[in-house]
Structure formats: C-alpha cells, structure tokens
C-alpha cells in the first residue's frame, strides 16, 4: 500500500493529526534552541560529516581494527550478512546460556531484523525496556519514530494500554502515575532477566569499545544485572577514534530531543568480571549502499530523528504510514535501497523543502537523495501507472510550447463552465481535499505582454 494511502487513514482524524504535528514541532523547536546556543554548531556538523566520510571510505580496515581491539578486551565479536544470520547468532548465544527472559533496550537494528518475533517463536520472552517501546510492544504495534517510539499515542491511549496490561486504574492519564506503574512493572522484568540486549550508538575502532545513549537508564540496568550482554550494531555505526565522540555526543541529543546530552552515555569496554559480552556486526544491505555515489552518505546517519521532527510530511502523516522500521526522510532513502519496488512511493512522500538537510547533524543531503531516488525509481520502471501516465502526457505537452499554449487557452475557456463532477473526480488527486484556484482570464504570457506594452 502506498504512503499516500496510509497517510490518508492517519489524517482522517484531523484533531489527532494536528496534535501529532504540533508534538513533533515542539521537539524541533527545542532542537533549534540547542543548536543556536552553540556558536560552533556548523563546525561540529562539518567535522561530523568529515569523520563519517573518512569512516565510510576506510570501513573494512576500521572494522578489522575494531574486532582486534574488542577481542583483546575479552569481547566476542560476531558477523552477520543479513537479518536471518543476525537472529540466528543472537538466538544461539541465548540458547547456550539457557536464557528464557531478555531485557532489551532500544535498538533499531533489532527492529530491522525482526528479532523479537524470532526469539518469541523460540520460546524466549523479550521485553522492550524503553518506556515508549514498551508502550507500543504491549499494544502490539511497531514504533512510529526512532527516538520517540510512541509519539503517535496520546496519554489517554497509554492509560488504556496500561489499564489492560499493567492493571493501572481505568481512565488514568497522568504521565507521572503511568510512568511510575511502568517503573514497577519493568523493575520486575530487569530483576528477572537472564540476559540484556542493547543497540550501539557508536563503536570505536581505536579502542574496541562502544557507546550506548539513553535517558531512562534502561540499557544500563538491563545489562548490569544479568551475566550476559549482547550488543547488536550495523557496520556503519563505527567511528575511528574515541575523541570523535566529542563531536558526535555534542550533536546527537541536541538534534534528537533538544537536550545538551542524554542522561546516560555509557562507554562499554569489555565484559564485567565473570560475565560475557558479545557484539554482533550486521551488514544487511549496508555494504551495497556503500557502493553508490548517490546514496553512500545515507550511511552517515546517527539516528537522531531530527529529519522526522522537521519533515512537514512526516509530521502530518505519522511514522506508521511509511511501513518501514526507519520512517521519515532518512527512512525514505534507506528503504528503497533495500527493496525499491515495495517502497516506491516513499521518495514521493516529500515536498523537497530541504528542511531535513538543514537540520541533519551529519550533513546528509537528504532531499537531494530523495529526488535522486525518484529518478532511479522511474529508470527502473517502478513508477505506478497512475503517476506514469500523467507524467507521459505532461512530457508530450511540455516539449511542445504551441500545444502547451493552446491547451492552456482551452482549459481557461472551458473548465470554469464544466459541471463539478467532471473536474472533481477520482483522477484529480489535488482536488480531493481542496478547491482548485479560480482560472484566470489571461495566461501569464498575455499578462506579461500587456504589461510591457503599457
């Protein structure tokens, strides 16, 4: 189903769509305040972009260096070509340790690989411990945003979900009360987990360590109690030096939620004494993207979500309308790289306003890449007939100025007199939610000529 079809469902509830738009704009405004409070903001973005460009062009060497250093620290490093391999590796480790209950903190990679359902099929309970992720997990739906997983849910919804699953009072909507109930519920899960799974924000080639950022402290609680910690990361999460973290940690939280830094930025170097630490390095299509001059820079993404918060289309259509793990502008670039046919509508879910490119902390040229994807989708013959046919007609008309002028005159003469059903029908997508502007008496050319003659 196309993005537009999904989005239409979302905007049916106008009040909720408006509320969603405002909620994200609020986060965007907080980001702006943080960005403008640092005079070196643009320098930071430039440095981040350069570090990532270097990383991507030396990725194989850096991965080997990371593996060497991590192994020295006592970490067991695994490699997975794709999602299936990743899930198998994780399951094998858990199986060897007789793990039945896992406390997982936010990891978009494990979402991408659909790890939860895989482990559940093998009889393992996986609890998402980030509050937002727990809300959507209980409600049996995917996250709608990579940083704010339950941003599409109002407090009334959360109250209802918690009443159903956590026995909170019916009709409760107070965030303090609901968060306290979740705290008690998840404490119990932390105390009984046999293993912790986390994502990775940054892995450091030079030291073999990695950094995980949270506000709730859920990643740290999840891995400091049980004896087994598995960290899953895409191969693009690498950075060369520990000092590079100075640049990235300054950018990440400010761009994501408008905080100066996340509450916890945890640096893991090797396992705790008597415990095991595993890292799974996942490719899953990333090395292919690396080969594309047009789309390589999409791998620079540090998953801050700023492009979503600012995107006029995302804010008004909701994360679920993208039907991908990563929605929004960056998701609309990454998803077609994986399956251009299934996601052919996403590069069109964009007004090309360029706001995403302006806020991206690592300077990914997002709206340019979205435009390039449109061309790519056309070249591969994946544009649906409903777009292809009008485009072909437009092509014929625009190549012939005389035809364009003649048709314009015809339209100005006829359309105002046509019965409504001939103008506003299924073929006129523009007219579905709004009225067409009034047709002017004269064309632009005529008006221009008249003015020059005066």
């Amino acid at each position: 189903m196309s993005h537009a079809t999904q989005a239409a469902k979302f905007v049916e509830d106008q009040d909720r769509a408006h509320w969603h738009d405002q909620a994200l704009w609020f986060v965007r405004a907080k980001r702006d305040r943080m960005a403008t409070s640092l005079p070196e903001w643009e320098t930071l973005r430039e440095k981040a972009s350069q570090i990532k460009a270097y990383t991507m062009s030396h990725l194989a060497d850096l991965l080997e260096q990371f593996e060497r250093n991590a192994t020295k620290l006592g970490v067991q490093v695994h490699w997975a070509r794709n999602a299936a391999e990743h899930n198998e590796i994780v399951h094998n480790i858990l199986f060897r340790h007789d793990v039945h209950k896992v406390a997982k903190s936010k990891s978009m990679l494990t979402e991408e690989c659909h790890l939860n359902p895989y482990l559940e099929r093998h009889g393992i309970e996986v609890v998402d411990t980030d509050l937002g992720e727990r809300i959507v997990q209980l409600n049996n739906e995917p996250p709608s945003h990579i940083v704010l997983p339950a941003i599409h849910r109002k407090k009334e919804d959360v109250g209802e979900i918690f009443h159903r699953y956590l026995n909170t009072e019916e009709g409760a909507t107070d965030p303090e009360y609901l968060a306290e109930a979740a705290r008690a519920h998840l404490r119990d899960k932390f105390m009984n987990a046999d293993a912790g799974i986390t994502g990775v924000n940054f892995a450091i080639a030079e030291t073999g360590g990695f950094v995980v950022c949270t506000n709730e402290g859920n990643a740290d609680l999840g891995v400091s109690l049980p004896k087994l910690h598995i960290a899953c990361m895409g191969i693009e999460k690498l950075i060369p030096r520990a000092a590079d973290l100075g640049v990235f940690l300054r950018l990440l939280a400010r761009s994501a939620t408008g905080q100066p830094i996340t509450t916890y930025s945890s640096h893991f170097h090797g396992p705790r004494e008597g415990c095991e630490l595993h890292i799974v390095l996942v490719d899953n299509g990333r090395s292919e993207i690396l080969g594309s001059d047009d789309f390589r820079r999409s791998l620079n993404c540090i998953r801050c979500g700023a492009c979503m918060n600012t995107c006029p289309v995302y804010r008004r259509s909701g994360g679920h309308s993208y039907q991908t793990t990563v929605p929004g502008p960056i998701g609309s670039i990454l998803a077609p790289a994986r399956d251009a046919n299934a996601h052919n509508s996403l590069p069109y879910a964009c007004s090309l306003c360029g706001s995403c490119t302006d806020v991206c902390p690592v300077k990914i040229d997002l709206h340019h890449q979205l435009l390039t994807w449109r061309r790519e989708i056309a070249v591969r013959g994946l544009v649906p007939l409903s777009k292809r046919f009008p485009m072909r007609i437009a092509g014929v008309v625009f190549r012939r100025p005389w035809l364009y002028r003649w048709l314009g005159g015809l339209a100005r003469a006829i359309v105002p007199w046509l019965p409504r059903f001939l103008v506003y029908n299924r073929l006129n997508a523009w007219g579905r939610q709004r009225e067409l502007p009034n047709f002017p008496k004269k064309s632009f050319r005529q008006t221009f000529r008249d003015r020059n003659e005066q």
């Binding site: 070196e40 740290d220 400091s224 100075g246 830094i261 509450t263 893991f268 396992p271």
Partner: protein, 198 residues
C-alpha cells in the same frame, strides 16, 4: 567464505577511498567564564542539583537535609567519611541484591560544563549496577575538575584495559508519554552533585 570475510570483501569492493583524511578536532570551541556556574546551571535544567561544599562535614550536613536521605534505610557510599553507609558494595557478589538501595554515594572523576555531565567509572566499584538501580544518586566531584566541553573531556579520557565509564547528566527520565517530562524512569529519581573545593 565465512560471513566475516564475505562482509569485509563486500565492503572493500564497494568502498571508494576518495574521502579526505580524518579532520583534526581543533576548533574555536565554546569557553565559559565560570565553569562551575555553567555546570551548575545546566545540571538544574536537566533535573539535577548542584551543591558547592567546603568539606566532608558540609556534604554530610547537606545530605541530612534531604528528606529522602534521612528516611533512607539502605545507603551505599564508597567515599570514606561521606554518608552513613550501611551497604558494603565490595562484599556484594550478586548485583540483584542492590535492588533496595535507597542512596548511592559515589565519586565522579570530572564534570563537563557545557552539558552538566559527570564522568563516573566502575574502577574500585565491583557492581556498576548500583549507579542505575539506586533510588537516589549522589556524586562527589572535585570542584577544580570541570572541563568546558566534550572535546576537553575526551582529551582526559584514555580507554586502555577493560572497564566501564559513563557520562551521567541528571536523574533518570522519560518523555515517552505525550512528551511530558517524568523524572525517575527506571533509575535514580534524583541526582545531587557535590562540587568539593579541594
């Protein structure tokens, strides 16, 4: 071919070495006239509290003034002379036993002015879980050890042997329910940072 070799081969085949060298991290980074004041202002905005203390005596007095501290039944301090510690962290083998710790009092190595973060490690700390599982966290940081920004922070840090370190900026919090800030998500419900004057 193993998955490892496969992935590395694919990365090598696809990567283009056109990028310039790694940038140096020198720049005209932000400076603050009063590091202590900047740190203390930021930590308040992220929900924490900063107290300047002349002596251990000052810290102990300030602790007693915290209602949750006076009613706390389990207190774990690793700093001699500070806090009425009744949990000996070095004797705890299973971190799950820390579940009901009310107050943890730990040393912070240094603080960062720009974002109110304190660097805390598990050096001399057998169970790092205590930093996250305690109901309230107290960090004691030498007042002279404040760096202006994260670049200066990483100049100080060296990751040699295995170990764990974390920048902590404020108490545990969440805004996952309709963007309403709630302090005390899973971890500490409060963070107090004492800046000592020695």
């Amino acid at each position: 071919m193993s998955s490892r070799d496969d992935i590395l081969a694919s990365v090598r085949r696809n990567a283009k070495t056109v990028a310039p060298d790694l940038p140096d991290l020198e720049a005209d980074w932000i400076q603050y006239a009063d590091l202590q004041q900047q740190f203390s202002e930021v930590i308040e905005t992220v929900g924490g509290r900063c107290v300047a203390a002349e002596s251990d005596h000052d810290i102990n007095n300030a602790l007693k003034a915290i209602p949750e501290y006076s009613s706390a039944s389990k207190i774990a301090s690793t700093i001699p002379g500070i806090g009425e510690s009744n949990v000996s962290l070095s004797e705890i083998d299973d971190p799950h036993e820390l579940e009901d710790v009310d107050f943890a009092i730990l040393p912070g190595e240094f603080a960062v002015a720009e974002n109110g973060a304190v660097w805390v490690t598990d050096k001399d700390l057998k169970q790092r879980a205590v930093m996250f599982i305690t109901q309230h966290l107290v960090l004691v940081v030498p007042g002279g050890e404040i760096v202006p920004h994260m670049h200066a922070a990483y100049e100080r840090l060296h990751f040699g042997p295995a170990g764990f370190g974390v920048f902590i900026s404020g108490p545990s919090k969440t805004a996952d329910i309709e963007q309403s800030l709630v302090i005390g998500a899973h971890g500490p419900r409060s963070l107090t940072v004492f800046l000592t004057s020695n």
